[in-house]
Symmetry: C2
Subunit: 254 residues, 2 copies
DNA sequence: TCCGGTAATTACTCCGACATATTACAGGAT
DNA sequence: ATCCTGTAATATGTCGGAGTAATTACCGGA
């Protein structure tokens, strides 16, 4: 067994081939360590209750200084993944203490093979929140909101969802709706979930061609919001979320 | 080597006048710094775009080592409050980058005078999520869930919401509902919001006596969940949230 | 005017030492 | 024998300083 640890550092170039945490540009060392450990925890490599090796040992194993390792641990602690106490060591907290809606935690969860049950939970939450957001947007939108939505919709039509530009337009459309709710809490929440869920959408794209043209459904949402019809907006958005769920679900079983 | 270390350290109680972050037992120094800075940012003392003084200067000003200060900054960075770059310094990020649903961030937001608009946003989100949670709970609860809810309800009756034991029972009741949804994402979300919202409830308690006996409303929620009537559960919970909103709103204008 | 090289500033990383808190154990009193 | 208390061991926490790396801002040349 090779004890050689991944060069988290610069370009040792050895690179035993393992997909180790390498820090790209703009990414600090402690950030890379946090990323690596975060994914390890989210993937179940470290189970709740497990206690990590001591600071000195672990830092040495990763070939980083104790400072960098500690700063990474602080990040994980801030997200509720671990807890450190003198003499007791650093242990992984039970799952109900994790900040599952933290954007980075979500990213770590979806970095590997995401837990099916968790994906289901997120879709369920989205199915609850997004229609309600559409309802609020229908009541509070102004001309600017509508213009941005309309532009995004046009861009979606031009590029289709098969292109990156098209998906960006899709995100813009949903973000415009969220902005129109005038609710910051709703905004951060749905932004996180939406990003995570869109990770799985890439699975969908990979698995099969789009089973259906999504544009008309988006138009229905837009029309309802423009008309100020809250109930219709909520229902139209419900349809949209259901469709996304169907697609992803059928892609995941296949 | 005399280590005259005011404020931030032990509980010297001297307090050189400045309201510095004091660390209680079980709270590390860097945690105290993060708490202090987090509250300062949430309270608007540091505005988005502001750039903090350099590490050396700030750490010196707080009379702590750079290590402790840096670890605190990592925590804030993990929560999306600040961003650090070489040569540019550490700047406060725009509000839409903040993880407003992070439990600690919420605690910091409610540590001082909470922003009225933000409280409104949270109640709005709660009004969206909690009825939906009750609906799911009605569909998925098992005997254990119902037993826990029933016990909590009995405890609420015994102690009333005026006592701490009564409020604990109230929390248990709502938590039991969330657990019955079998949705971890929903659980962490509503747990955070609920805790934050209950901060404001203490304002309510302070301002006026309970305007209404809340037990019957809770019982209606329980009955609907026990009967498996999803629609009725959602509606009953909606009433509950509305009442809490009314109370808090009337307390905040007073 | 614009572009590229250079210098200065700031965060980032590392190191080694000491302090502190918590656990675990041993010893004595009940 | 059990429980409590004091003590020692151990891992995290805190400290101070030194050196590195990255980004910005400035300056000079095309």
């Amino acid at each position: 067994m090779v004890k050689e640890n991944p060069s988290l550092h610069r370009d040792e170039t050895d690179n035993g081939g393992a997909a180790k945490a390498v820090r790209g540009p703009g990414r600090r060392l402690h950030g890379a360590i946090a990323h690596k450990l975060g994914m390890a925890i989210l993937s179940g490599q470290y189970a709740p209750g497990d206690t990590l090796s001591g600071e000195v040992a672990f830092a040495e194993e990763l070939e980083v200084s104790r400072s960098a390792y500690r700063e990474a641990i602080q990040v994980l602690t801030a997200k509720g993944l671990v807890e450190s106490r003198p003499k007791a060591g650093t242990r992984v907290l039970p799952r109900n203490r994790w900040n599952l809606l933290d954007p980075e935690v979500l990213a770590w969860a979806f970095a590997g093979e995401p837990d099916i049950q968790f994906v289901r939970d997120l879709f369920e939450l989205r199915a609850i929140v997004e229609p309600a957001a559409a309802r609020l947007a229908a009541q509070r939108r102004d001309k600017d909101d509508l213009r941005i939505m309309k532009d995004a919709l046009a861009a979606m039509r031009r590029h289709t969802l098969a292109t990156e530009a098209g998906r960006a337009a899709d995100r813009d459309f949903h973000n415009a709706i969220l902005n129109a709710t005038r609710n910051d809490a709703l905004l951060t929440l749905t932004a996180s979930i939406g990003a995570a869920v869109n990770w799985t959408t890439q699975y969908k794209q990979r698995a099969r061609a789009l089973p259906r043209n999504p544009i008309p459904d988006h138009v229905r949402v837009y029309d309802a919001i423009a008309a100020g019809d809250a109930q219709a907006a909520a229902e139209a958005m419900g349809v949209l979320v259901d469709l996304a769920l169907e697609d992803t679900a059928s892609a995941m079983v296949g």
